[in-house]
């Protein structure tokens, strides 16, 4: 049981919840190891916040089970639903939810106060928590008298001051401006490494999810779409939805034209016909090989595509598209090109010094390793 509590410190099983006629959660299950950080990533409305709020006890699911540290806190079948205050958690809200009628120290000390901590212990731990988040000396300030970034830190200190077994983050950085967001992200990572708390982190920002977590759970339409470690998720998304969400911006439908032998790494080369006189060689990493003629989806990132001037149409070859530049948007570091190739429109991100302009005839090439292929229903 103890070991079970460590490996599956938080266990969510077939959670369902509807709001009126809309099903927000359609059977969500996952585990969180003790000391790890798991991100719930997905577009708005995918149900990730509902999952988090259900774990916190702020939302009552319709059915399913939730256990924290091996102890059930919600069980639909047994009508068990622990109120939030008994779940021993800390939580950081998107709006920070810093209480405007209290000072910084009163805000941070609240979880200790309701747990009836002694005054000396309370003061000591508040001071320590404020130091941890870099707000030492600001304890007596009124909480409203702080910048957004500082309020964020107050919310963070309040969530960890009572050393909860689990800290929940509900899009904590989304209200900060871009620079502050990056800075807070790094600090959060350091703090987490230092204190080693278990964390569940809800975000719609893929960078945040990749940067902070040991495991990413991608959600879509109330269901878990993929569970993977950040690197695997980024390089080898499991589904076309995940690929799209993680920045694979060239996604095309095609059919399998040929299947090659598997290499030493277990990947088979698959030849996909896109129907515009171009075919792509892609690496197939799934166990069961595809059938020739099967419908598939291929995806690659615009940063991984190479653009070259091609005044005369080159000889048709694998992984090379020919076309003309439709639009070029200068972004400083790079140029965002839209390339028209038959009925397909490709996006290519080229270095900022690339001289090509709209109307130029070009070729776009991409390597087989950068092309991901998914079966299409």
């Amino acid at each position: 049981m103890a070991d079970e509590g460590v490996r599956n410190f938080v266990r969510v099983e077939s959670l369902c919840k509807s709001f009126g006629a809309t099903a927000a959660l359609k059977g969500v299950s996952f585990d969180v190891e003790q000391g790890s950080t798991v991100s719930l990533l997905g577009p708005s409305g995918c149900g990730k916040t509902t999952v988090l709020r259900s774990i916190a006890g702020l939302e009552r699911p319709d059915s399913g089970r939730i256990a924290i540290g091996g102890e059930p806190v919600y069980d639909g079948a047994r009508s068990l639903n622990q109120p939030p205050e008994r779940r021993q958690i800390g939580m950081v809200f998107q709006s920070y939810a810093v209480w405007p009628h209290m000072s910084v120290a009163q805000n941070v000390g609240f979880p200790l106060k309701v747990r009836k901590a002694g005054a000396a212990q309370l003061a000591e731990r508040v001071t320590k928590a404020l130091e941890l988040v870099g707000l030492q000396g600001l304890g007596e300030r009124p909480a409203t008298n702080l910048s957004g970034g500082q309020q964020q830190r107050v919310a963070l200190a309040r969530a960890i001051v009572h050393e909860p077994r689990l800290v929940l983050f509900d899009e904590p950085l989304s209200n900060l401006d871009a620079r502050l967001r990056q800075q807070m992200r790094t600090e959060l990572k350091l703090l987490q490494d230092r204190l080693g708390f278990t964390a569940i982190y809800v975000t719609h920002d893929q960078e945040e999810a990749l940067a902070l977590s040991t495991k990413v759970i991608v959600m879509n339409d109330g269901q878990v779409e993929a569970i993977a470690q950040p690197r695997a998720l980024f390089a080898q998304p499991a589904t076309a939805f995940v690929a799209h969400f993680l920045g694979f911006d060239n996604i095309f439908d095609g059919t399998v034209a040929a299947v090659g032998a598997r290499d030493a790494g277990g990947a088979a080369t698959v030849r996909v016909d896109l129907g515009v006189g171009t075919w792509l060689q892609c690496a197939w990493r799934r166990a069961e090989p595809p059938l020739v003629g099967a419908p598939v989806t291929v995806a690659f990132r615009s940063e991984r595509a190479a653009l070259a001037s091609a005044p005369t149409a080159p000889r048709p070859a694998a992984n090379v598209f020919c076309g003309t530049i439709e639009a070029a948007v200068y972004l400083g570091i790079s140029i965002d090109y839209l390339v028209k190739c038959g009925s397909l429109t490709l996006r290519v991100l080229a270095p900022g010094e690339c001289p090509l302009t709209a109307g130029a005839a070009v070729s776009v090439s991409v390597t087989a390793e950068d092309c991901i292929v998914f079966p299409r229903a």
Partner: protein, 570 residues
Amino acid sequence: MTHAPLPSSAARCAARLRALRSPQGFLPAMAVAIGVVLILSPFLATVVRSLLTGEEGKLGFGLGNFIGMFGNKRFWEAAAMTALMGAGATALSCLFGLGLAWIVARTDLPGRAGFDTLNLIPFFLSPFVGAISWTYLAAPNVGLLNQVIAAAGGPADLLNIYSVGGVIWVLALFYTPYVYLFVISPMRRMDPALEDAARAHGAGFWLTLRYVTAPLMMPALMSGALVVFVTSAGLFDVPLALASPHGIKTIPTAVFQVVQYPSDYGLAAAIGVMVMTVTVVITLMQRSYLSKRSFATVTGKGYRPRIVQLGRWKIAALGLEILYVGGGVVLPMAALVMVALSPLWTGKPDPSTFTLGNFEFVLFSHDLARRAMVNSLIVASIGATLGVVIGTLQSYYLQRGRSRLRTVMDAFLSLPIGIPGIILGLGFLVIALRTPLYSTLWIILIAYIARFLPFSTRGISAMLVSLSTDLEESARAGGATWLQTMRMVVLPLIRPAIVAAWLMLFVIFVRELGATILLYAQGTETISVAMVIMGEMSFGYVAALAVIQALLLVLAFGLFRLTRSAFLEA
């Protein structure tokens, strides 16, 4: 896609019952239940009583009361008079309210902030006292203003406050702040870009006003106008003071008369049922009108409205302010104080004879007056306290509860706002006649809370709805129980609304007359009742009592302004 089966209705029921066992479920639901009982019991009592005909003691069911009422010409005359007075007061209040709000919110008239406060003072004063004061000012021949007119060579009976026009004038003075409060906040918070866009696309000042500003103000104005119509038409005290002496009857004064000996409770109850039906229909119509137009003018962003340079029109704006503040506050208060200070009011103030004798008499010598003051203070302070406790819990239920009944309850609990006090008083009288509550302060207290609880609930709801639920949830997530969260987070944050609601109820209860007039007995008189009774004795005593009441109200008003500004700064 693993869809879990929906819980059965039995399971849902069980879950709901379990939820009621926790304080979070129980207390708000309890407060709503109290509110429902407070509305339903006088309503049902009135309906039942209206269907009982015949002599006391051998009553039988029948429609005799309604037949008698509809066949009575005097009833229809009173109804027409009530509608006329309500409509006149509404029209005049809208003119005043719109004009004053526009001047304060959108023009560069100097001293606007001061006028903002002055415009609201009549809201806190008693319309009954206002009516009494205006009899000193504008009674034919003897009124102070008529004397001034006569001295200037005009006819001494030019102004006659004892008339339909007089009632409309006094009602309008005291109901203007309702319209003012309804329209000033959209005027202040309207995105000026909406008007700028009209100007930029070729509309001049008047066209912009007609096609953009006025339609945007319409929902707020209509809400204010409806509240004024329903409440002013149902008001008992002003027609009592100004119309009854000359035999002009309105529905509220007719009900009062019918209940006097020899009482015809059946007829009174039939009138009550009519009035309640009409009021509820009007209220529901207003709700459906408003639900169809919710404009996003009020975005909550702190817009700075465009300020209109008045130029030469400053004089006109100032004139309107002086007319309103003079008629609503300065003249009646001055007349009241002079009458209170005069040993014998002869229609002419004589400062050399001014004395505090009247005050001394009502404060220290007159049993009725002293008892009335103590009763009013007891009822007002206990009532206001109960009112905010129940109101806070009700608004928690309405804003935070998960019950499906919330929207229905929101509409239902607001119903008493339109019901005239004397009609609700009648309902409670019918109940009290058969219980030990009869002729106690308790029945008065209960009637007050039933009638005015919606003010408390609505005021507190307005603040609670703007309070992010995150602030509560983060307390729960941080380990606080619901009661701890209420005590340490919610209540401190909505304290300004709670204080404002308490003061509001206190003010209303101190001056209330319509509901009290049918429920008081020897020993349970309130200040306003004492003024009615003593009106037959001496002008001076009534005026002194009225000044004391006004001082109480102004004190509460001052505190209200203080808390409100403290809240705005926070």
